[in-house]
């Protein structure tokens, strides 16, 4: 009558350092390395501190908050804020920006009749279920009888 729930059996989450999974450390390392390479071309003296900052930023922004990486959650929060501002002042600058970004402004104002509308085709009758109406191994079509217990008369 009971079941013991398991960990996420489809997810690899190998141990890293200081409680940070290995894949996040790897991503931060690769990100910092790339930053160092690119910044080093333009600002030789600043490349190491900027690369370190980038590595730390990647570590912080990829930390999960509510099952979603922090950067993703911040993006959704920012999009939500943009949508709210756009809905409050439809002629404003933010509204034009949301238009350019094609953000779904209609999500701010929800109509229960639309959001919870029954799926189309709900009341349609699927005629496939009537295939077995005819006698098995006989031609499809209506079967008429002369009397309740009489022999069947076929038409068409």
């Amino acid at each position: 009558m009971a079941a013991d729930f398991k960990s996420h059996v489809l997810l690899r989450d190998e141990k890293g350092l200081f409680g940070i999974p290995f894949k996040r450390l790897l991503l931060a390392g690769v990100g910092a390395g790339l930053t160092y390479t690119l910044v080093n071309l333009a600002f030789r003296g600043w490349s190491i501190p900027i690369a370190v900052l980038m590595g730390v930023a990647i570590l912080v922004l990829t930390a999960p908050r509510g099952g979603i990486p922090l950067w993703n959650r911040l993006v959704y929060r920012l999009r939500g804020w943009l949508l709210l501002v756009a809905a409050r002042s439809p002629q404003g600058l933010i509204a034009q920006l949301t238009g350019m970004l094609e953000l779904p402004v209609d999500l701010v104002r929800l109509d229960g009749a639309r959001v919870f509308a029954p799926p189309s085709g709900e009341v349609e009758i699927d005629l496939r279920e009537w295939v077995t109406f005819a006698h098995a191994a006989e031609v499809d079509g209506l079967v008429f009888v002369e009397s309740p217990l009489g022999q069947e008369v076929r038409h068409g």
Binding site: F5, S7, L10, R12, G66, R77, R109
Partner: protein
């Protein structure tokens, strides 16, 4: 593309199955249906405020219509009793629904559900979580508020699951205590994907192999990886025993009349479920999108970040436990007793189809069967 079929399910009283064998067979029956699932599906339970008003009004009409003064007096006594019950309780009505995205015939699906859940299943559109126009608000916390005159319409907050703790689930915990919190809420169990048996086995074997390579090279203890391998092996053995592997996400919509009550209720739900699964309070765009979990909308069209969790059929069967909590059902018929923790009156109309009926009342000794039947 597969069409969605929506069904409404009348919850039953799980206390009818409250023996070790009873709940075991219930879990097996639910799991058997889930094993055959090869399409996305969604189970939703709505718990909405309800009153005995319909019953009280019916009694008033009957008392006015009768010419027998003794009957009229008896009806008025009944009416007063129901009014007392109604005043001293905050009744909720529970209704369940299932949506299946499949090209199977609707009636065949309904028949399968009926035999699996052993309760009334009808094809029908789902009720709306709210009516009228609503807007997103970000202060003092993200919620949905009615636009214009509230007219009794509540505020809503949506929570989505993102992690499941290694804990024991059964038909009595953790979901039924949520329904016993006794405030309006809706619970959605989304099943966006059921793995085909061979691909589930391949996926799990791949994970085991990867972890074994990792463990062979790691120095020191990595208990999480060791546990993950053990979990994968257990899931594999359950799949080889006939279970299917499903992806699941739980969503909960909570309603309240004011913001402070809403905040309290959100904290109560998060606290109540914390030992079993973690819930995320949705913000911004995610809040509006999450409403799709309470409508017949495909998961991929809802467009939330994937925080689903893999479970096998026998685990998923326990998530359908709200089916066993009917709370205030129909009020037609005669009051027969109380159900669900003695908090809800049970009515039964044995004269529904105008045929003579024999009733058998089954229950544990001392719970008042003889008195009720004789009354």
């Amino acid at each position: 593309m597969d069409e969605v079929s929506t069904f409404l399910i009348e919850p039953f009283d799980i206390m009818l199955h409250a023996t070790e064998d009873g709940v075991q067979s219930l879990q097996a029956r639910f799991a058997t249906w889930l094993r055959t699932l090869n399409a996305p599906a969604r189970f939703v339970c709505w718990q909405m405020p309800a009153t005995l008003d319909a019953k009280i009004n019916a009694l008033s009409r009957a008392a006015q219509a009768t010419t027998d003064p003794q009957r009229a007096q008896l009806l008025m006594e009944y009416r007063r009793y129901y009014e007392q019950l109604d005043d001293s309780a905050e009744y909720q009505r529970a209704l369940c629904g299932i949506a299946v995205w499949s090209d199977q015939n609707q009636r065949a699906l309904a028949g399968g559900l009926r035999s699996a859940f052993d309760t009334l299943v009808v094809e029908g559109a789902w009720p709306a979580l709210f009516t009228g126009r609503y807007a997103i608000r970000d202060a003092p916390f993200w919620h949905l508020a009615p636009v214009g005159r509230p007219g009794g319409r509540p505020l809503w907050v949506l929570l989505n699951s993102y992690a499941f703790a290694p804990a024991t689930w059964n038909f009595f915990r953790p979901l039924p205590p949520l329904l016993r919190l006794n405030f309006p809420l809706a619970l959605s169990i989304d099943i966006p994907k059921t793995y085909e048996r061979n691909s589930a086995i391949d996926a799990l074997e791949g994970i085991i192999q990867a972890y074994e390579v990792h463990l062979s090279g790691v120095r020191g203890e990595d208990s999480r990886s060791v546990q993950r391998v053990a979990d994968c092996r257990k899931a594999l053995s359950e799949i080889n025993a006939g279970d299917a592997l499903h992806l699941v996400q739980i969503s909960i919509a909570i309603a309240a009349d004011d913001l402070s009550t809403l905040k309290e209720r959100v904290q109560a739900v998060i606290h109540e479920t914390k030992a079993w699964f973690s819930l995320r309070h949705e913000v911004g765009e995610l809040l509006a999108r999450s409403l799709g979990y309470f409508a017949a909308k495909r998961t991929k069209h809802i467009g939330l970040p994937d925080t689903s969790w893999p479970v096998v059929s026998r685990e998923l069967a326990l998530m359908l436990s709200p089916l066993g909590y009917r709370k205030l059902s129909a009020t037609a018929g005669v009051l027969r007793g109380e159900a669900v923790g003695a908090a809800y009156p049970v009515f039964h109309d044995s004269w529904r189809d105008k045929r003579a009926t024999h009733e058998i009342w089954v229950g544990v000794s001392g719970f008042g069967k003889v008195r009720r039947t004789a009354a």
